[in-house]
């Protein structure tokens, strides 16, 4: 087993201290050591985006991040995103638009979309499509997800039938 390293970081606004194996991923740390199972393990190689979290305000694939590298950084998971304003709007819009089927990709999409909205990177449908390139959904065909993000961002999409706008 790899050597342990002691790390200290902020997780969803709360300071945490932990000892983690050097080879552990941030995703394993979140799910298996801290019990935050909202962040999903999909592909394990950065293709699917189900494990998306915010680190120092930018989204990353937590499966590709070493837990040891969380030292001194500010982590926000889907559990922390949905209590923010953009996260709440996204959650409501995903429900209203029927953007959830099996739900496995949803946490990653909510985190990525909240990042896009907060950074003003969801200004139109093209920007939304571009922003979620790193998030795979195997159920919905993306249409309703795009509509939900557009609704939460107050953007009109072509042929939008759902949402609040």
């Amino acid at each position: 087993m790899s050597v342990n390293c002691d790390i200290a970081f902020t997780l969803n606004g709360v300071k945490r201290e932990l000892s983690v194996p050097a080879g552990m991923s941030a995703l394993e740390m979140l799910r298996e050591r801290l019990g935050l199972t909202g962040t999903k393990y999909g592909c394990g190689e950065g293709e699917c985006g189900a494990c998306t979290i915010l680190v120092d305000g930018a989204t990353v694939n937590s499966c590709l991040m070493f837990a040891a590298d969380c030292d001194g950084r500010d982590l926000v998971t889907v559990e922390g995103v949905v209590v923010r304003e953009a996260g709440e709007r996204l959650r409501d819009a995903f429900v209203a638009c029927g953007a959830v089927q099996c739900g496995f990709c949803t946490p990653g999409l909510i985190v990525q979309a909240s990042h896009m909205i907060e950074r003003d990177h969801a200004g139109d449908e093209a920007a939304i499509r571009r922003g979620i390139e790193g998030n795979l959904c195997r159920c919905t065909g993306y249409r309703k997800i795009i509509e939900a993000i557009a609704a939460a961002a107050d953007v009109t999409t072509q042929g939008a039938e759902h949402g609040r706008s």
Partner: protein, 288 residues
């Protein structure tokens, strides 16, 4: 997976170089290549895992007059958001715009892309075309020494470069191209996001009346390393962009590439792509 016996996160270049000199080190930056490669068993951890992300000397995009210094830790997102890169190193900017996904661009570093030395590495193709140079630091006998290696010559094969284990890539230096230099980066994949290039082309030139000058061409994913294409450049240099020149350039390019067949494309298809797409890229550059 091999055991990691020690984890270190040095905070100065001196400290990091000292650790590298002691040996048996795996260097961690963004982690987007290291993690999947070690998990899949394609790469074994050395006993020491050294995270260089906290070394300030490795950051920053600096305009140094005749060239731009890009710190090894600069992320693809930082390159995309840099006005300097967008305006003066636009070929590189275009490649960053085709790079993976937002999540990976936020973590992946240009230094990692270079050291990973993939034949299909997205930033390597424009960096080669831009005459970029790798800056390597080592501390062989107590004093920090820098060595500069032109990127054209840096790559030795898939995953292999002339960086020796005791060296750390600190920056990429990119000379500013001549005024009026414009270019196009083209990457062929099956989908726009998160794809590894089947082929990539970076072509830059300066228009002088009807003809192109200062022509630079680089290809990705058509040889064991990303490559410059000097004969293709010569076939384009000083000539107007007309049908005859396009055909000569395309045929010359075919002589310069040596693609293999793999999961992404057959060698035949890669050659077809090079032959046809260099014409399209050339036509675009001729109109810029």
């Amino acid at each position: 997976m091999a055991d990691i016996k020690r984890y270190a996160a040095p905070t100065t270049l001196e400290e990091a170089s000292e650790m590298l000199r002691a040996g048996n080190v795996t260097v961690l930056a963004g982690g987007t290549d290291l993690m999947p490669q070690t998990r899949a068993g394609r790469l074994q951890f050395q006993p020491v895992l050294m995270n260089v992300r906290r070394v300030p000397e490795l950051g920053g995009i600096d305009d140094q007059g005749t060239m731009v210094r890009i710190g090894a830790l600069v992320t693809i997102t930082e390159l995309l958001e840099s006005q300097l890169v967008r305006e003066r190193l636009n070929l590189l900017w275009q490649a960053c715009n085709h790079f993976a996904s937002d999540q990976i661009r936020n973590a992946a570093t240009v230094g990692g892309n270079v050291c990973n030395a993939s034949p299909a590495g997205d930033t390597l193709v424009p960096l080669l075309a831009l005459n970029a140079c790798a800056v390597l630091a080592a501390k062989p006998n107590g004093a920090l020494q820098l060595r500069r290696v032109p990127l054209n010559g840096f790559f030795l094969g898939p995953g292999r470069s002339c960086r020796v284990p005791a060296e750390l890539l600190t920056a990429i230096e990119v000379p500013l191209p001549p005024a009026g230099f414009k270019g196009e980066f083209y990457k062929h994949g099956t989908r726009p996001g998160l794809d590894i290039a089947a082929i990539a082309i970076a072509l830059g030139a300066r228009r002088d009346g009807a003809v192109l000058r200062d022509v630079r061409v680089a290809f990705g994913a058509v040889a064991p390393t990303p490559v410059r294409a000097p004969r293709t450049e010569a076939a384009i240099e000083g000539r107007p962009v007309d049908a005859a020149m396009l055909e000569t350039a395309a045929c010359t390019a075919l002589e310069e590439v040596h693609p293999i067949s793999d999961v992404r494309a057959s060698d035949w298809y890669r050659r077809e792509l090079i032959h046809n797409m260099i014409k399209r890229v050339l036509m675009h550059v001729g109109q810029l």
